[in-house]
Amino acid sequence: MRSSVSYILSSTTSEPNMSHPDYEQFTHDHAALLILIRQIGSQLKSKTFYKFFDRISKNNNVKITDSTGQVRNIFIRYVKQHPVENNDWGDFQTHRRLLGLITLGKYDTQVELNEICRVHESLKVKYTSTLYDSRCILFGPPKETDSPVDISSSSDDNTKSSDNEGDAANRNPDDCIEKYTTPSNFKTRALFYSESSPCSDLEDQLIEFIHSLFWILESKRLERSREKLERVSLLLAPFEKKDFVGLDMESRNNKKRCAGRMTKRLGDLCLQAGLLNESLVYYATAADTLKTINDWLWLGAAYEGHCAASSIVLYPNIQRGTGLHRNASLQEGSPKKIPTSPITNVTDIGNLRKTMTNLLAPEEIAKKYREAIIHYSKYQNAGIVETEASFKAARIAVEQNHALQAASFLQNVVYINLTLSEQEKIERFETLADLYTQIGFIRKASFCQRLAATRYVSPQNPSPNWSQCYNLMVQSLPGHRLTLDPVEVKNNDQGWPALQIQLLQELVVAAKRMGHSALATRHMTFLLQTMWKHLSPTEQKELCIQLQSLAAQCEGAPVALVLDSGAIIPPANLTNIPICQVFTLRSLQPHLQPRKLKIMKQDSGPFLFTPIHFGSLERNSTEPKTKMDFLWVEGDLCSVSLKLLNPLPFELKVSDMRLLSSGVVFESIPETVILPPDSATLVTLSGTPKEHGELELQGYSTHALGVKSNCRLKHMEGFLPHFTVQIVPSLPIIEVTTSLPQSASFSSLRDFDSVITSASLSLYHGENSDCIITLTNKSQISIEYLEISIQSALDSRTQDKMFVWSDEAVQSQLPIQPGGSATIKLNLYAQASFIAPLQGTQDLNSGTFGSSFIGSAASAGPSSLPSRLNSPNHSLPGRRTDISSSFRSSNSGHSSTTGWRSPANLMLPQNVFSSLVEGQLQLRYSGGPGFEAEQCRTCSVFFTLEILPSLQVTNWDVLPADTPSHFYLVLDIANLTSQEMELEYAPSKTMHIEGHESCRVPVPVERCPLSKFKSLYTENLEETKSESSLDLDKIYSEHIAELVDLKWQLSATEAKGKASLQGITLAPSMLDIVGMSPILWEIQINGSLVKPQEEISCEAGDCLELLVKVTNCLDESLHQIMLCVQFYQDYENGNLNYRMEARLAMTGTQRYPIACLDPQQTEKYTANVIFFSSGQYKLGVKCSTPENSTSAITNENTIGHLWKFIPPVNFIVT
């Protein structure tokens, strides 16, 4: 806006402080009388002074009726200070002259009073060139009477300038009631009050004072207006004094100049006196005049005056002062609005333009002002005026709501080249900032504030004020779209980062120099936190180092700082150093996890099965949840794992890391960690909940770079706002030790996690051993509930046999007190089948025999179990029914009860290996408050049993014994160990078996009594006979297993155990031998009963009478029995000779069929026999039922039974 004309070089005077700019001027001040209010002496408190100042300032508008009856609207402006030099510009613009002086002082003694009066007089002298009148308000001591006494004194002023007229008339001080009097040379009117008095007539006095000022002014104006324009002297602006030396005073230009200037002056005076219309006329005339002669300076002044007057007309209610809020209703100073209050002395208020012909329209005001300023800018020394004019114009534009215009006026201000003191510069910027804010140019305003702040501490400033600087910078933050709350900054990211960084850095410096190191640290933290992503790596590093050094003086803490000014600086938390990438809560270790004591069945409503998933499981699995599925236990160490990344290129030490939580009390354990540069580290933070309930984890706190921060997850990106965990009441912890050594490796069984110890043992088949498990209560809560169970892959029956303990013994040890212990005695028994499996097709003559077997039904479990334990229950392909017979045939006649060493051709079973049985002993325990909350803990002991084979029954057969009540069970027993085994197979009968050898032992066994299998025959005979024979088989094998007890002992290792014949199977032909015969034999030879083992002697040629009685002992009838009587010779070498035709003769049939033998029925058979030759003969009597005979009645297939009379009767024939 400045004129492009180079400066009109007025002589630069040597006065550096020609005048001081008054930034607060409004155009309306052109119409105001200037009054200075000063405080004298230090007795008066400044607060009181300001109070009175405000009170007096309220009287700024007085309506005075002049001599013509016109009511003049007089404005008064009160200032607190006024540089004397400004008075020099009074010629140029009359409103700059100080017209009135009011001083306030307080005194307690006469001396002080005198002093106050003296100072007042000196002030008067100071401003004497323009001062019209003055008043002195004196506050006496409180003891004074409160009626003010008016003691006025007049003064004879030595008027030097014609402008200053005398004061009120002198009056000598009268005798007054007070003790204090003003000194005799005090020539001013003094108003005495006591400080506490309400000073009720102060306003009246002031109004009277103003009246007096007005009249003086009015008289001057009238005097001026009567002057002839041709003869006026030249008015000069202060710096012009030397310009006009030597100029022709009589030239027309000069005349015009004088006239124009004087007209303008008159305009000023009229304006001050309240005559707006005339002032307008004068200004317009002056402007026209001065324009012709290119008197730029005064032309500008005329324009300015014109604008001022117009603005007063148009905007009479302009608000002034930065402290006042702009009234919203006044904001739109609509230019065409007719002012409501009559402010002129023009009587008709109609169309203003008609009455005020020179009134400028608002646009014209702006235009004229612009021109005025341009004219001012041509003069180097008119800087102050130009500055003030720019401000005034801007204020008008603000009133007009024309922001752009206001901005352009304000912009001009900065270019005005003034020598200002630093304080003035600061004020200038502050005013600029304020005005920019008023028009809404917030960014520009903050820019100016920043400049003002820098001025406060610039090197030229003699008294740098860092706290002011700081304050201003803080005020400029909103303009840069910054607040001091990091959360808000994160949310709206609209600022210009480079500028923001700059500003924050300056803020840090200011805070530091201010001495408030906590604040400096806080701001630096804020800078790093909010601007992190906009900083380059080098900047990041530098700033971090700076922060460290700052924090060395004062540590940062996440609390809000309260400044003296009352501003609250919110905490800034460093969440970027280090950056947290992962925050996961970790469940407790499985053996410490609380579990529900009773598992409730999930209730899915009335549906047994439904394809509709209530509760929509899919939705749950996709979203991450804040509530954790697992539980934590009160009093236990619970942990959260974090992954932290150190973004700085140097090592970062993060100390005192804790967890932030709300909800139940949670004691967090501080951690310190040193993070290597540019890499992620896993850190675990732990803590102990001290109560039960719901715990909410909100984040973690760190202490890095000297700054403590609370990093809350809800303010960090990529995390759920918080995590909640349910804490259950405390549960006890036990420690388990076993008496066995631990096993080297675990296998993968399910539920493996809760294993806390292991035990391993190797046992031989049939051996049992004890394991003492000691439970020690390691916590402070007693254990009230303990439940033991075994889990393994075995079937429950085997499992129950292998792992045995006494529940009562355990339960009796409860409750286990803290520190106490309990023992569980676990008996381990290596259960296995001792029966060798089927070994495929065998060669009958090789002497090895396999036999089918029914293994113990075990589940098809993991492969660690011996494979021999699995075979289905029903496949019995090709039972070898003739095995036993051939077996028997090679051992015929052998009835000794001693076994013999195995022949070499008895092979050992090939595929018997040692096996591994694994099981877990699960302990569920609970106690204390956790027990009441139905939670428990589980832990388990992992057992590895290595089962070594001890012995195996590879073959077996039954042989009839000599007595009908027993039979021999011949077993081929293989010693599968490498040690010598001593086998006790019958009471007091032992056998030594070398390692890896087998031997044959006969075991005498009682025959199965009829009672056991009689029931079979009462069952429904329509079932297939094979089943019934199977059942018979089972009954017999159970019977054998019950009775046979093999005890083995290894001599080297002292291991001993039992072997049972569970699972032994019998071929059908064996069945008859095992079971007691249902037939009761009675044989009589020649009428005498044959006793067993009795030998019958007779002579050749004797006729013996044989009577055989057969009684059916069953409850059922037997059908189709063939009684067969046969003589034979036993050569004792396994050969039997049945061909007896030449040796004997029998009467009667050899075979005697009995169709049906009812229960308890006896059939007789008689025969006679004659032996022809001598020798030893045997009689074999047997009953048999035929095989595969289909009985017409029963319609079944039968398998033949064979019952023999045992032992065969011996005949010795001589």
Partner: protein, 138 residues
């Protein structure tokens, strides 16, 4: 020959800034930030010229050493050009043509699927093109 070019988004956050002299960039940022106030006023102010249909806003600020011109697209993107005051040869029309070129560059870049509207522009080719426009070598 422009000294500095800035592209500012709808929310008045800077999207792109390029200046011939990188040392002065911070200083330019301040100036441009202040000029945004003027732009806002011109677009949204109460007294704006309602029949100004042009996208070119004209001279925003005449500082001592630089002149700042503004241009607002229909999509409320603001382009600012800072010109050296001593460069009196630069006429209004040339400034307008520079703005048009910048606008077409911007229209091209916004059609680039790798550019997400609202984020700072970091394309090297774009920066090169703007530099060429600034130095007038287009």
């Amino acid at each position: 020959m422009a000294v500095c070019v800035a592209i500012i988004g709808k929310d008045n956050s800077p999207k792109f800034l390029s200046s011939l002299n990188p040392d002065e960039e911070l200083c330019f940022q301040y100036k441009i930030l202040s000029s945004l106030d003027i732009v806002e006023e011109k677009i949204h102010g109460v007294n704006r010229a309602t029949d100004n249909r042009e996208l070119f806003l004209g001279l925003l600020y005449a500082l001592e050493t630089h002149k700042i011109y503004g241009y607002v697209t229909n999509t409320k993107m603001k382009f600012i050009i800072v010109v050296d005051s001593s460069n009196i040869a630069l006429r209004d029309n040339e400034i307008r043509s520079m703005f048009r070129k910048i606008h077409s560059e911007y229209a091209d870049i916004i059609c680039n699927p790798f550019y997400i509207p609202g984020e700072p522009i970091t394309f090297k080719s774009f920066a090169n093109n703007i530099k060429n426009i600034m130095t007038g070598t287009v």
